[in-house]
């Protein structure tokens, strides 16, 4: 086993991403040819995708425990560590894959804009931030990476700086997002004050009552439960804002449509999911062994269910009355995040915790793929016509049959039509709701919102494809090949993920769920490195 080389690939994606992002403006000073920048961006995202795939392959096939990388050789809890288990690795592949496809798509999409070198810089920084948030094992480093991700996102939303809508949306997003990261900072303050450590595995050990090298037991033996409760509450609120769970969702329908379409795909498909991943990591892995804090966790699960139901209802009811194609799809994101949050909240009942977590992770993957597909297709239509209102896009699909076909498959997938992918994850969610007994009436919410979202997406398909053309459409042509290929790959992914659902759930999602619930293994991997501090090696 080539163990010596292997742990470094865990730290490479974020660091390499940041380095490549900072190198691009310097290159653009010397070389003024756009195609070099575009090729550089595509090559960088392809390299990051290759590294993340290797990490996932190794985690799933070769290893059976989480991998630790210690920065500078400093073992935990003294230094910063990156810890990757199957859950992170799976989501890392999703993130880097979709970013690669969006970058390939941006090459032709942004051909009329200038300032493109800053676009690719921010894009690479965004990807580096997301991968850092996913792979990190230290919750202050999580804050740093969260800021890297968010600031790049604010810049990307404001990219069309000559339209007032983009600037307004970006300023709104920036203010609310900064409030959220400040809340997380307050949470870290409570966490450090109660536990005395910044390492995630150390936190998991302490709440279970174990001791960890150097930091020993909890820092304040009498008030640590109150501090832990405050930590969890502020952390949940901060990431609920970032993940757009109602009532914190109000920035999303302005920010996601105002961004350029490939960026909307990344924001809706990936960034909100990374925030959900953080909530998953804290609630299901780190605080799992905490028997003293069980009532806090149960209260949090109940709040998650309430907020999830509210998100789903608001998303669905406001989705069907929109007339702007990107705003409609953005409300669909609020709706699906509602489903994922309901799945998280199912942890309240031990019989349905595993199915709920399976539904959440599977829906993260399915929704990421399908929503990215929808935004990319919507971007093709907007790129061809130049307008976003459904009345002005009427009949465009007849001149762009491939894009319209991909959009229809994506819309059918997202409304939950068997045998496409989102139906399978919604099925597991509804099954988990029925298993939990007293939560069964919530299945009505899922059915109602599925029906409403089906009608909303069919409205778009009707306007784009079936309606007679409103304006003169003879200049509209099919999207160029480099924009069609990412859409085609995502469509194939939707269909394959749906048809191979039994195999995919058993061999890919279930191991990730089991590794997420295995907090002992998570702590054990870091403990072995930490015990090096007591001498020996």
């Amino acid at each position: 086993m080539s163990m010596p080389l292997w742990p470094h690939t865990v730290a490479l994606p974020p660091l390499l991403g940041v380095a490549l992002a900072f190198a691009l403006p310097l290159i653009s000073l010397a070389i003024k040819d756009r195609r070099v920048w575009e090729g550089y961006a595509v090559a960088s995202t392809a390299l990051l995708f290759a590294i993340c795939s290797y990490v996932a392959y190794a985690q799933y096939v070769l290893l059976d425990r989480p991998t630790i990388y210690t920065f500078g050789g400093w073992p935990p809890p003294v230094g910063i560590v990156y810890e990757v288990d199957k859950l992170n690795a799976l989501l890392g592949v999703l993130v880097s894959g979709v970013v690669l496809l969006a970058t390939l798509y941006s090459v032709r999409y942004m051909e009329r804009e200038d300032g493109v070198e800053w676009y690719y810089t921010l894009l690479l920084g965004f990807e580096a931030g997301m991968l850092g948030c996913l792979y990190t094992g230290d919750f202050f480093n999580l804050f740093v990476m969260l800021e890297v991700m968010s600031v790049s996102a604010y810049g990307l939303v404001a990219f069309r700086r000559d339209t007032h809508e983009a600037i307004e949306a970006a300023v709104k997003y920036a203010i609310v997002g900064s409030l959220a990261t400040t809340l997380y900072f307050i949470a870290i303050a409570f966490g450090y004050g109660s536990f005395g450590t910044l390492n995630m595995a150390d936190l998991a050990a302490k709440v279970s009552g174990l001791t960890f090298p150097v930091t020993g037991f909890v820092y304040s033996p009498r008030g640590w439960m109150l501090g832990a409760g405050a930590f969890l509450a502020f952390m949940f609120w901060a990431f609920a804002v970032k993940a757009a769970i109602a009532p914190n969702h109000f920035w999303l329908p302005d920010a996601h449509p105002a961004a350029p379409s490939p960026i909307s795909a990344l924001l809706s498909g990936l960034m909100v999911k990374v925030s959900i991943y953080v909530i998953l990591r804290f609630l299901f892995t780190l605080f799992r062994g905490a028997v003293d804090l069980a009532f806090i966790l149960n209260a949090l699960y109940l709040v998650a269910i309430a907020m999830g139901v509210l998100s789903a209802l608001i998303g669905a009811f406001l989705l069907i009355v929109q007339s702007d194609i990107k705003r409609l799809v953005a409300y669909g994101t609020v709706l699906n995040i509602g489903y994922i949050t309901m799945a998280i909240g199912l942890g309240i009942s031990p019989s349905s915790m595993q199915s709920g977590l399976t539904a959440a992770i599977y829906h993260i993957i399915n929704h990421g793929v399908a929503k990215a597909l929808l935004f990319l297709c919507a971007g093709s239509f907007i790129h061809a016509v130049g307008a976003r209102q459904l009345d002005e896009l009427a009949g465009v699909g007849r001149r762009m049959p491939w894009t319209a076909a991909f959009f229809t498959i994506g819309a059918l997938a997202l409304s939950g039509v068997p045998p496409l992918n989102c139906f399978m994850s919604k099925l597991i969610l509804m099954q988990a709701l029925l298993e939990a007994g007293w939560l069964a009436p919530l299945i009505v919410v899922v059915i109602l919102t599925s029906a409403l979202s089906l009608i909303g997406y069919l409205k778009v398909v009707y306007n784009v494809y079936m309606r007679p053309p409103a304006a003169e459409l003879s200049k509209v042509n099919e999207a160029p090949l480099s924009m069609l290929v990412p859409m085609f790959i995502l469509t194939v992914a939707c269909i394959v993920l749906g048809l191979s659902a039994p195999i995919f759930v058993d061999y890919v999602v279930k191991p990730a769920v089991l590794s997420a619930l295995d907090s002992k293994g998570y702590v054990q991997a870091a403990f072995e490195y930490a015990s090096l501090l007591y001498g020996g090696g």
Binding site: S323, T358, L499
Partner: protein, 113 residues
């Protein structure tokens, strides 16, 4: 759980099989039927008036959900205007409501030592 997913695939394959058979029946009947596409038959049926294709499109806001919006106008007004006011202090009020709910639940479910 995976047995349910396998059953979904069985149902989907049965669905497509019968769809194919009925489609075959339809195409067979179509080929046997007389075909004479000419004149008035191909135009839009508008009770005798002429109706160009361009006029056949209804504005998007009036189409699917006009009736739904009409019946539920008071509820939509409540969500859109009173819920999404745009004032950040209102958002703070919502979140304090949720935080209070959280702490009340904490007290009810376990008590804080």
């Amino acid at each position: 759980m995976s047995e349910l997913l396998i059953e979904v695939l069985k149902a989907a394959s049965s669905m497509f099989l019968s769809a194919l058979v009925i489609l075959g029946l339809y195409l067979y009947a179509r080929s046997k039927a007389p075909k004479n596409p000419a004149g008035e038959k191909l135009k839009v049926y508008a009770c005798g008036e002429s109706y160009p294709l361009q006029k056949a499109s209804i504005a998007d806001a009036n189409l699917f959900v006009a009736i739904w919006k009409d019946v539920f106008k008071p509820y939509y007004r409540r969500i859109r205007e009173k819920g999404h006011t745009g004032v950040l202090s209102d958002w703070l009020m919502w979140m304090i409501l949720f935080l209070t709910m959280f702490f009340v639940l904490l007290l009810l479910m376990g008590g804080i030592p």
